[in-house]
Amino acid sequence: MTADEVMKKSQAAFLYQGKDFKARVMMKLISSGGQERVREMAMLRKNYGAPGGEQKYFMYFFQPADVKDMTFMVYKYPGRDADRWLFVPAINMVRRIAAKDKSSSFVGSDFTYEDVSGRNIVDDTHTIVKEEKFVGKDCYVIKSVPKAADMDYSYKQSWIDKSDFLPLKEEYYDRRGGLYKVFTADEIKAVKGFQTITKRTMKNLSSGHRTEVSYSKTDYNIGIDDSLFSERFLKQPPKKWTE
């Protein structure tokens, strides 16, 4: 199997499973001093086409209090920046957000938009560095070097489980070759037969800040209607999806 094939399978397993997906996402932003901030949201995702293709995301925020009832919608396209809309309930306004996927923190966390919704596989050159066991599982170790020079990191090294193709660990190296950011999959569960990372952490080694994410109420193939991804429901998120 080539490195590109591994990464394609990994992308499909990590970000494209099922026709659609939902989860209650709890993010804890933890500073080096231990201070915690919480971001809690309902996340809904629907695929349009094959893995690597278009996706739509709908998010509804429960916490913190100053963003409660805000909703956020993303149309993700392979090969170009996503379209994003934010609904601000205090002034009943929907507006587009101009943010770049590659270098924007998602709600202030250690995850970028790209970490949440995936990176285009053809944007990197992938090579299999080695094959080794990691936390008792047989893994491919893949080195991914961005083709463009617009990224914060110079390369990424991923440990991809050979059995289910989920990324168990990712290491990000800066331009001087120093390791500065680490992703780990901390809990994996089967949901409707789909292996799903239900706990994950992104830790910034230079600042000591980390973000812990846990999924609950996770489900697949729940029949999300196309109409959900509209201004109408951004302004009035359906209760059945935000409970």
């Binding site: 932003l29 500073s31 901030r37 919480v38 916490q63 913190p64 209090a65 100053d66 409660k68 920046d81 379209d83 205090a90 002034i91 009943n92 306004m93 507006r95 587009r96 957000i97 101009a98 943010a99 770049k100 270098s103 924007s104 923190s105 709600v107 202030g108 966390s109 800040h209 109409s227 509209s230 201004e231 109408r232 009035q236 209760k239 409970e243």
Partner: protein, 436 residues
Amino acid sequence: MDRIRKKIKSGVTNRRRGSGRKASSLSVHIYAAICLLLPLTAAASDISLHGFLQGNYSPNVAESNSDGGDFKWAEERLQLKLDANKEPFQLFLKTDVFYDHIAEKADMELREGYLGYTASKWDMRLGRQVITWGLGDLIFINDVFPKDYEAFFSGRPLEYLKKGVDGAKIGIYPEFASFELIAVPRFEPNHFPDPNRFIMFDPMPGITNREKIKPSSNLENTELAARVYRDVGGFDASLYLYRGFLRQPSALPDNPLAPTRLTFFYPKLSEYGASLQGRALDGVLSLEAGYYDSRQDRSGTDPMVPNSQTRFLIGYQRQIWEDFTAGLQYYGEYMSDYSEYAKNLPPGFPKERKLHELVTLRLTQFMIHQTLRLSFFSFYSPSDGDYMLNPEVKYNFSDHIWGAAGSNIFGGGEKWSQFGQLDKDDNVYIQFRYEF
């Protein structure tokens, strides 16, 4: 932004409060209706109660107020938001209680209060609700709904710039487009800065006998608004229609040659507009335009009623680096029948330009995991030379507490220009909020 017209400020000290919607008879009716609906909340399957406690203080930094006061705003406020759902019904109430240190009294205000109904292809909201249309960042063309400019110039949180309307909104969602239809039986004007708190231009300061007349609530005066929107080639496209009244009053002198009394009224207005927004040039591009049909002065000969206008906006925002975004807008207001206006303007009155222009710049930098926000917003008018500057720092101390400090600085232009006339009203403000 709607212009604070340089013609005549309605110096009528109408209502002291910014949002000004105290226990009017309609509010009483709404409260009564709510009391009747409260049993429904008991039956609701899903009830949430949230809100905040807030302090908001805005001392002057240029001069004292017209009445000698030192603050544009000083209050503590409690807001409660009740959201009760039993599908397909929703009841939403947002009520503020506050103590105003300038008027030295406590009061309450129903910010929003509506009953909603949701079906698969349509929905409805009945009651007091905030409606926001158009794409402008603090510039309003197709958002013809009421604003509170006193709140905006006094350093209050942005949400207080918008006022609710008392009416019905129906949304219809067939496959090919979405529709919003709005009927507002009771007219709500814009709220302009209180002349006791703000030093502003008044071309007829000698005439203190003033009264304000709002359109009476009847079928003929019911405001109607419609918006149709859909995706067009990856862009969000909207068309807008409105039939109602200008929310800025015009003055009618009892005797044009030697006036002793001014009657302020709200001229009839129709508005037709369109907007388009989407990704372009590595950012977000916004285009919006509207034609203001001044139905009581179509010939442009009445100097007291604004002429018809064409308003247009080009906006562009882009992320420059991580957590830093810049937004630029150019806005123009082109007066129809300008020669008629110029010919009929009484001597001694400041003359508006045929084309009024505004440029805005917004810079936003987030820091410390987006808990600290530094922002800067400015208006500058290339045609009139006046400006408004609003730098602000906001910090989220925790997930429940935030504070913001900023200032509103006005100047340039003439003593009657939109922002130039507020030259002596510079203020700094602080806002603290505990949200729950």
